[in-house]
Symmetry: C3
Subunit: 270 residues, 3 copies
């Protein structure tokens, strides 16, 4: 692949996550926080959640990546996100932003833009409705679910990435991601991943684990998308019901080897 | 059945939930919130959790039902519940109240009456101790568990429903519910449903999903109770241990068909 | 055993938890709170979570034990912990403190010492890094995980217990605990218990359940450690993957009999 991003390079990143066990500091929502902690462990990283202004910068000082997820935001949490994010920026560790529900309420949209403006975000990862809505590309968001998308995912992420100067990833039946120069499609995954609550949040935690070990944030994000998708494909072979599947997904992530990822990853340059 | 509420009518409501996928806005506790989100998805509705005063009315404006659960209440959350509830009332969407732990502490009892007074609640759903305690009928509550009940469930819910002018549902080995005119008993369910944390909260989310699509809130509540109970019966056939059972319960709710509900629902008019 | 603490005495405590079903009031973190509630139920006790200053003392007034876990602390929660703890102390019910992440940030370390100073804590339970760090014994904490330990667990807990005049338990491949006079090692457990998020928090809930029924807090803590470890050993026979194992662990705790505990507990006096 012209980009140098292929199954082998993604597998090398997974091996690095496992070897370095990066600490991923989360400020996230209280709905799926347990799943985020667990998925971070599954991939081989170490999760920590801390939100008090009294310690948020200290915790960010120990971390290798910071994940901000606005799924149940409030003003106190936003203030803490800014404090943690500023410290992360000072230290040069990557910040992942999951704009859960952006486009659904003005508060979420406004806060997303505030975080994008006041912090240097490495990766912005959302569902189709959220990303298209932030891009002004006609995304529709209902609650925290994407309710539709006009336009081409690849074009939307590429333009938004160029404009914001970061990596933008938009999940869907096929995931699209771009750093403004290179645009990738990841075709791994399984429909059962949309049948339980929290898969989007879990993915953001995985992105956090991968960007923690990789200077190329586009490649790291592709690795997270592919690893999650491949684990989903394997879990679907074990269980066809959503909650049995969810359990199997955690275990398939835990046992996913770099070799298996290299073999099954379906990532291509657009 | 004289009331026109039978297995067929409940099944029709389940089909409607699945077809319309209503958005159910929750202000709920942080203990079982993930289970509430997932059970809402299982039944075919769409969950959203949002509590900030900055957005709670906006989110309620998109929703088809609002679920208020006081399991881990505090003054900020109560304020947000009032704001969301007022918007829900203005829009005419139903509000479900789960008075978790009412009767255990003065704060919970007082807050429940405040919400009942300041909002138009459609369905009040609690365990035996909570409802009897709110009815002044000798309920005992220990922490958030019902510790006993004097008197007849059917009489208690009927009187309280008449007094408060809403639907009251009291869960137990047999569930009793009433709108003050019609009183029903639902005999579905399984003892394993009481062996893990959160079944009461999960049920309130299901009530939210059903009232979202049904003008007759008594029937909708009966449908939620029956659907949850029937799924529990089916899950118990698959697993006899509480946590394996809980997993199976989610999956049985996901696969529950209107036909299966019609066949297995045990609802009768008192 | 010279201490009078053996499998039989631990089994008797489990029987008492099951018979008396103590109410265990938690102020804990939002990451693993659901697991804490469920594990409390599994062992036969009754969990309640409540944090509002408006009710925290009332809830502590109904409880038989109080568990304080600083995993996601903030100033409001610390204030509530102090209020609940003071009421618990007035009533003479035991208070368990899990200093999650102490040693990682100054705020967590400072708050742990504040709680130890202002409340009468019955049991301080942490991982190797946390306890050693509080003991000034060279513990290293990264996020909320122990990252290393210099020195002998048995010596560290004994000295700290003597200094603080309470029971100190330090988890690890082998758990060490002491009340300053008697020091025990518990050798039950399985490596899979460290592969998912929350086992440490779950254990603190179990300690709460056992100290609620036992005046000898050292013995109660040993019972919790042994019960959790034995259930883990049994779960590992059913499942070798972390998340299937976690599910089995809940069910093995639920079905654990006093007889099975007596037979499998490996507790010895140092």
């Amino acid at each position: 692949m012209a980009s140098g991003i292929d199954g082998e390079s993604l597998a090398a990143l997974l091996a690095q996550v496992r070897a370095r066990r990066p600490l991923v500091h989360h400020l996230t929502n209280y709905v799926t926080v347990n799943d985020c902690a667990n998925v971070t462990l599954c991939i081989g990283a170490s999760p920590v959640m801390a939100h008090a202004l009294e310690e948020v910068a200290d915790m960010a000082s120990m971390a290798e990546a910071l994940v901000l997820n606005i799924g149940t935001l409030d003003p106190g949490q936003v203030k803490a996100m800014l404090a943690a994010g500023k410290r992360a920026n000072e230290r040069g560790i990557p910040v992942v932003l999951d704009p859960v529900g952006a486009g659904a309420t003005a508060y979420r949209t406004r806060t997303t833009f505030q975080l994008l403006r006041q912090l240097r975000i490495a990766v912005l990862k959302g569902n189709g409705g959220e990303i298209a809505s932030l891009a002004g590309a006609g995304g529709r968001v209902r609650g925290v679910d994407s309710a539709g998308l006009d336009g081409q995912p690849a074009l939307i992420v590429e333009e938004l990435a160029r404009k914001l100067r970061l990596v933008v990833a938009m999940t869907g039946a096929r995931d699209a991601l771009s750093d403004g120069k290179r645009t990738l499609l990841v075709s791994n995954g399984h429909p059962l991943m949309g049948r339980f609550s929290g898969s989007g949040c879990m993915l953001s935690s995985l992105v956090g684990a991968f960007v923690a070990v990789a200077p190329d944030h586009l490649e790291a994000t592709a690795a997270a998308l592919a690893a999650f998708g491949v684990a989903g494909e394997k879990a679907a072979e074990r269980c066809s019901e959503p909650y049995g599947f969810k359990l199997a997904l955690f275990d398939e992530l835990s046992r996913l080897t770099p070799e298996a990822l290299a073999k099954a990853a379906r990532v291509r340059l657009v």
